[in-house]
């Protein structure tokens, strides 16, 4: 008879390498990074042990105790205790420790023992511990703790061989009768006693050379310097946004000319008609105009992944703590907000590490104001069309500077909104504590960066192939039908459904300087921000007829006034143009109400910002 599926759970303090271990065991590609609180969800994976036992392993958010202080820690607690309804209790708990820092994990392990679950202590990151000259008397540790102990190097090939062997050995003799669960939340004095006990065991079994990581100390001397640190942070962000603009250009030009050639080919080989128009206007001018931005998206992710893997995120949170606190934000809000530069969805999920409900809600509400990567195509398109590509002060690209300005505006508005929330809604506000482990720096791992970029690029292209493509088909259809009556002299598109819809909306948007083409682009832009670029591409391409082989950017430069362009930029800083973000807000807050609040406040801000921008620009003669 085949042995039943063995259920493992990965439990441990934050940043101890649980997800790395999970990936090593199951071959998955879950997100790994060097700061506490990366994993905020439960993830299950499967593998087969060397002896052929089928295993299910669950990766869990890191936690310092089973008390469950924040939503992510509750997930871990509920899974370990089998509280989640209909949940199977894990057969074996792998307690994962960072070997360079055993105090907190050993205390957690002593607490975990009370649950009566069979356990293995995994001394992970053993490579770093050995390098620092830390030695562990494993036999003695086994005796003291009463649980099997194994060393592991989750990020090295074969680094989990011992763990696999031990799992086989233990699972063969797992008691059928589950042991008594005597766990309950520890009182303060029990906690203290447990930590004392843990410290005693460590003193007996582990020899620590008094040699903290000197590299970390040296880097922190600069990076955490009260003034120097803030300058470094500002520089990093500045270089990041400049780079997105300047460095991606060659690759983007290449993609652009590729799509141009493709368009020419279609025009040359296919007969005039609907099929040619569909391929050229819908697919190439539409979807193609979004794919062109892939290099920029990759660059921004590269920067964020490098910062995350290096261990900088927790430092940035440290530097920004008081500044964010002034705006009423929790210190732990910084990392979710910085992740939102990539995409607001993981950013909103990451707020689960915030224990205080109201602080978490505030962070969720403002996360969509951070400039996510989906805004990049819109910003870039308009900036390249309207802002001259000259250098200021000799070395700063003006277009890059405007881009930087848009990012800064997003950040400042987010802080302002948070301030307003704090001021009007939360009268009895007491600043929540900020307590965060600052992990030692680690050299970014090429493999995990590559995997991170690959997953993101794949997601972007998949979206281009699905959401954006289907929206484009819709737009192309709306802009092509009904066809004009024979013999009409006006442009064909004027007879289309798109024009009818756009013109119906135009009066509403005329005060902010938007024409009917923009109105049409904004509606599918609700599905995803980039769609607006594709929609404009298609609409103007159809409108321009066969001769419009020009780039969408050049078309805009002739069709829009500068005031309209600036108004559009202002709109995109604020507008809630992303259905998936709204859906995640609903899920994470558990309420349609907060989703509606987010949608409304962002829409109101967008309209107001565009209105002001447009009118000021017109008054200054840019109309």
């Amino acid at each position: 008879m085949e042995a039943p599926l063995l259920h493992l759970a990965l439990v441990g303090t934050p940043n101890s390498g649980k997800t790395s271990l999970f990936n090593a065991l199951t071959g998955s590609r879950q997100k790994v990074a060097n700061y506490p609180g990366v994993t905020v969800e439960r993830k299950e994976g499967f593998f087969v042990t060397p002896l052929g036992r089928q295993v299910s392993v669950v990766d869990l958010p890191g936690t310092y105790s089973l008390r469950g202080r924040s939503p992510d820690e509750e997930i871990t607690r509920d899974f370990v205790l089998g509280k989640a309804s209909g949940e199977i209790v894990p057969d074996l708990v792998l307690c994962v420790a960072d070997s360079t820092n055993l105090r907190l994990t050993i205390r957690l392990l002593l607490e975990l023992k009370r649950t009566g679950r069979p356990m293995i202590l995994v001394l992970n990151m053993f490579d770093i511990a050995s390098r620092r000259g830390i030695t562990v008397d494993v036999e003695r540790l086994v005796k003291e703790l009463g649980v099997p102990v194994v060393t592991s190097i989750a990020v090295r090939k074969g680094g989990t061989a011992d763990l696999l062997a031990l799992t086989d050995e233990i699972s063969a003799k797992l008691a059928a009768e589950p042991q008594e669960n005597s766990w309950r939340a520890l009182s303060v004095s029990e906690l203290r006693a447990t930590q004392r006990e843990a410290d005693r065991i460590i003193a007996d079994c582990v020899s620590l050379p008094a040699r903290p990581d000197t590299w970390t100390a040296r880097i922190d001397a600069v990076v955490l310097h009260p003034v120097g640190g803030l300058i470094v942070l500002a520089l990093i962000l500045f270089v990041m946004f400049q780079a997105v603009f300047a460095w991606a250009q060659p690759a983007m030009d290449l993609l652009k000319s590729g799509f141009d050639a493709l368009g020419e080919l279609v025009k040359a080989t296919l007969p005039d008609g609907l099929l040619q128009s569909f391929l050229q206007d819908g697919v190439i001018s539409g979807v193609g105009s979004v794919i062109v931005f892939l290099p920029q998206i990759i660059l921004i992710f590269l920067f964020i992944l490098l910062l995350e893997d290096f261990g900088y995120m927790a430092r940035a949170a440290f530097l920004m703590d008081r500044i964010m606190g002034g705006a009423g934000l929790h210190g732990r809000a910084f990392i979710p907000l910085l992740s939102s530069f990539a995409c607001a969805i993981p950013g909103i999920m990451a707020t689960r590490v915030i224990d205080n409900k109201r602080d978490r809600l505030t962070t969720i509400l403002i996360a969509p104001l951070m400039t996510c990567s989906a805004r990049i195509p819109v910003y870039t398109l308009i900036i390249s069309a309207f802002i001259p590509a000259k250098d200021v002060w000799g070395f700063i690209n003006l277009q890059g500077l405007v881009m930087f300005g848009l990012y800064v505006t997003g950040i400042v508005s987010a802080l302002a909104v948070s301030f307003v929330i704090k001021f009007f809604m939360i009268r009895d506000y007491a600043p929540a504590p900020f307590m965060l482990e600052l992990p030692d720096y680690k050299l970014p791992r090429l493999k995990s960066i590559a995997i991170g970029i690959y997953t993101r690029a794949k997601m972007f292209l998949q979206r281009a192939g699905t959401t954006i493509f289907s929206m484009m088909v819709l737009i192309w259809f709306l802009a092509s039908f009904p066809q004009p009556p024979a013999g009409s002299t006006e442009p064909a598109i004027d007879f289309s459904l798109a024009a009818i819809i756009g013109k119906a909306l135009e009066p509403l948007l005329a005060p902010v300087g938007f024409n009917w083409q923009i109105a049409v682009a904004l509606i599918p832009g609700m599905a995803a921000r980039e769609v607006a670029v594709a929609a404009l591409g298609t609409v103007y391409s159809i409108e321009g007829g066969k001769e419009a082989a020009e780039q969408i950017g050049q078309v805009l430069a002739t069709k829009w006034s500068l005031a309209t362009a600036l108004s559009m930029l202002a709109w995109y800083i604020f507008a809630p143009q992303c259905a998936s973000t709204l859906a995640v807000i609903r899920r994470e807050t558990g309420s349609w109400g907060w989703m509606a609040v987010t949608f409304t406040y962002m829409l109101v801000l967008a309209y107001a910002a565009s209105l002001v921008t447009y009118n000021v620009a017109v008054a200054l003669g840019a109309g």
Binding site: S65, R196, R322, P433, F434, M435
Partner: protein, 91 residues
């Protein structure tokens, strides 16, 4: 504990300046003004390794009001605000 420690005055870690090194004497979470309840604050501090006898060193401080501080507690570095660090009595 050495004689050296006995002689040093007890003070809250929340008042220590950069470069300060000492040993935790006890936790006193009353009247720190933290948003957390006394028990919750004490639990959290212990969970991060702030227990009697642990060596601490103030490694870094922030710009605004020298807050927060980065504290080395035995083998790890923890960032805390001074307000919460007032509960940690060191010498």
């Amino acid at each position: 504990m050495t004689d050296h420690d006995e002689k040093r005055p007890h003070m809250p870690l929340g008042l220590a300046l950069r470069g300060y090194t000492g040993v935790i004497q006890h936790l006193s979470t009353k009247d720190t003004g933290s948003a957390l309840s006394d028990i919750e604050l004490e639990s959290r501090l212990i969970e991060l390794g702030f227990v009697e006898g642990a060596r601490v060193e103030v490694l870094h401080e922030g710009l605004v009001g020298r807050d927060p501080i980065a504290v080395r507690v035995d083998s790890i570095t923890i960032a805390v605000r001074r307000r919460e660090a007032m509960a940690i009595i060191v010498a």
